[in-house]
Symmetry: C2
Subunit: 363 residues, 2 copies
């Protein structure tokens, strides 16, 4: 159907090798023939077949991105960050959702490998799960970067500094005078939840508060989970905490809904802080105080690290761990601002060149 390099060669009266030279502007082809061939390419609107090129070059210019659930705004923003760097470098990205199922993760990784993607960015299913396939990637020296730690796997890693973000949020609550502060946990499999718990604990301890076991409330990551946690709190015999730090904004939202349904006022009765800074969080009737993750930047940096590794001649360079700064967005739900003022602080537009990484560990 469409033209091939042979067609162009014939039309230009040169060999395929020469056309190839023109396409990859090799210095050995003369200006004269270059312009002539280019004119013919232009005239017939010839575009080289990327599949054939990939086969010859043994690289596709495609990377794979596997997340748990692209409909989570955090992950979709990460995906956009990944894409942005990729388009700048003429890479394409094949996307997939694992739905937090290890077997899906496995099968999708295998499919991507069959498709010869040049590298992988993975938000892996974590903890308590067979990770043979990740170990295999490592053994095969397949380039990949993780968006969350996986115990026992050494690889490049890019994520937010959860512990510090959590610390700052809880510290802020304490400075506002809150004392009985609870943590609404994320899913048990998420290491990010553990780290946020650590930050929460550290903030309490450094402020001479006791991190009581009863204040750590198991939950999940979705709106419904937060809602149910709120119902449980309402029905609990224990007095309700005066502040709740939540695993993420979805949980916070569901929680607030359940609390206010039960006539418990946010923030007067209980302050609530989320995590992620979802797009809607600043526009809620009670705008949500939250820890903003640089989601777009996480994706951008992850892609950067991946492409670096793909292009590295010696792919023996040490693995990087990049922890990006979060920042606390103070709004109404923690009681700092008076309700009823224009206070939805928007996400600052990320400026990649200016942002410094927190620390870069080396293994």
């Amino acid at each position: 159907m469409s033209l091939t390099i042979s067609d162009i060669a014939k039309l230009a009266g040169v060999s395929r090798a020469t056309v190839s030279g023109v396409l990859n502007n090799s210095p050995t082809v003369s200006e004269r023939t270059k312009t002539r061939v280019l004119a013919i390419i232009e005239k017939h609107n010839y575009r080289p077949n990327a599949i054939a090129r990939a086969l010859a070059l043994k690289q596709t210019g495609v990377i794979g991105l596997l997340v748990k659930d692209i409909s989570n705004p955090l992950y979709s923003q990460i995906a956009m960050g990944v894409e942005e760097l990729c388009v700048d470098n003429n890479y394409s990205v094949i996307m997939g959702n694992t739905n937090t199922l290890p077997e899906r993760e496995l099968s999708k990784i295998n499919l991507l490998k069959r498709r010869q993607v040049d590298g992988l960015i993975l938000l892996p299913v974590q903890k308590g799960v067979d990770l043979g396939h990740l170990w295999e990637l490592h053994k095969e020296n397949y380039p990949f970067v993780l968006l969350a730690e996986v115990p026992g796997i050494q690889a490049d890693l890019v994520r937010a500094d959860d512990e510090k973000g959590a610390f700052e949020a809880v510290d802020h609550l304490i400075n506002l005078g809150r004392r009985r502060i609870g943590y609404i946990c994320g899913p048990e499999t998420a290491m990010a939840s553990d780290r946020r718990l650590e930050g929460y604990r550290r903030a309490l301890i450094e402020n001479n508060l006791v991190p009581g076991k009863d204040l750590v409330i198991p939950c999940g990551w979705r709106l419904e989970h937060g809602y149910e946690a709120g119902l449980r709190l309402r029905e609990s015999d224990n007095p309700i905490p005066d502040a709740l730090f939540c695993y993420n904004d979805s949980v916070a939202l569901g929680l607030i809904r359940a609390l206010t349904e039960g006539q418990i006022d946010v923030p007067d009765d209980v302050a609530v802080v989320g995590f992620d800074d979802a797009p809607t969080s600043g526009f809620l009737e009670t705008a949500l105080t939250t820890v903003a993750q640089p989601a777009h930047l996480i994706g951008y940096r992850a892609a950067q690290v991946l492409l670096d590794r793909i292009h590295a001649k010696n792919n023996s360079s040490p693995f990087q761990s990049i922890f990006l700064e979060t920042h606390l967005v103070v709004r109404e739900s923690c009681g700092a601002n008076r309700k009823g003022t224009v206070s939805h602080q928007l996400n600052p537009k990320p400026d990649h060149d200016l942002i410094k990484t927190n620390r870069e560990d080396q293994f």
Copy 2:
């Protein structure tokens, strides 16, 4: 590095053609050799190179999906629907965001064509824009399906029935006793906004109300746009309408925020209805009444139509237009339910097999 078909052939003591036969289980290869070769493939964990296969077969098993902005939950859900059908059929999807920029749409389509994707699902930039590239796709007989009409382009189309959805929403408001009902428009380039406006108008007219020009308020599609529209309403000399039907949930959210900041109560002073049923909408302090789009199903069906067209021997079958039913999710923001009851109706899990399309036009 990894094994090729030749390696396997050598190991099994057969020709490459035979191994190929085994892989594609051709009936001509005998059971005996098939099991023998299979054992060797298994033993060495050989997986055929999809790129080489794609080159030989002239089909990649990859489709492209281009949306405006994957971080919009509507589009990410559509993307998940697309993906679901694709994994079932061993297709992969390359995703891209156009950011509503025609030039990005053009360049990404071209890149995808170079990558020899078997087909395209497009949420195109619409209205008032050069559409030469879409016209070209059509001319080249490249399989693609649209998620929104493009004037002058004939192609398969899958989308929600906006007009009817809008009609039902506004009709419901009228039945609740609201009379001065406004429409907060989407972006000017979106045909969906036009159709929702039509549904809004029809509902007014069929209920003997006059669709006043001053009640149609230009806006956009994002939270900020809705917020600004709310500010403008507050500052306007005209009396505030007693109900507002919004282009989407984001706009509704921003709007509600602006209204309540100005001590205008939702729903007592003004009822608000959104569109899309974003995940958070049911968990807001004032849960949002909204028109749910079957986003997942839209993606699923679009992928179905596309793969059908890809596999059609004669790709001269008539174009389909599939309009999927929306459904009105009544919550608190329109004043029907008493505030403070558990009323967040969740998205029903889509059941693809049961859902019937609204109508299927043929060209």
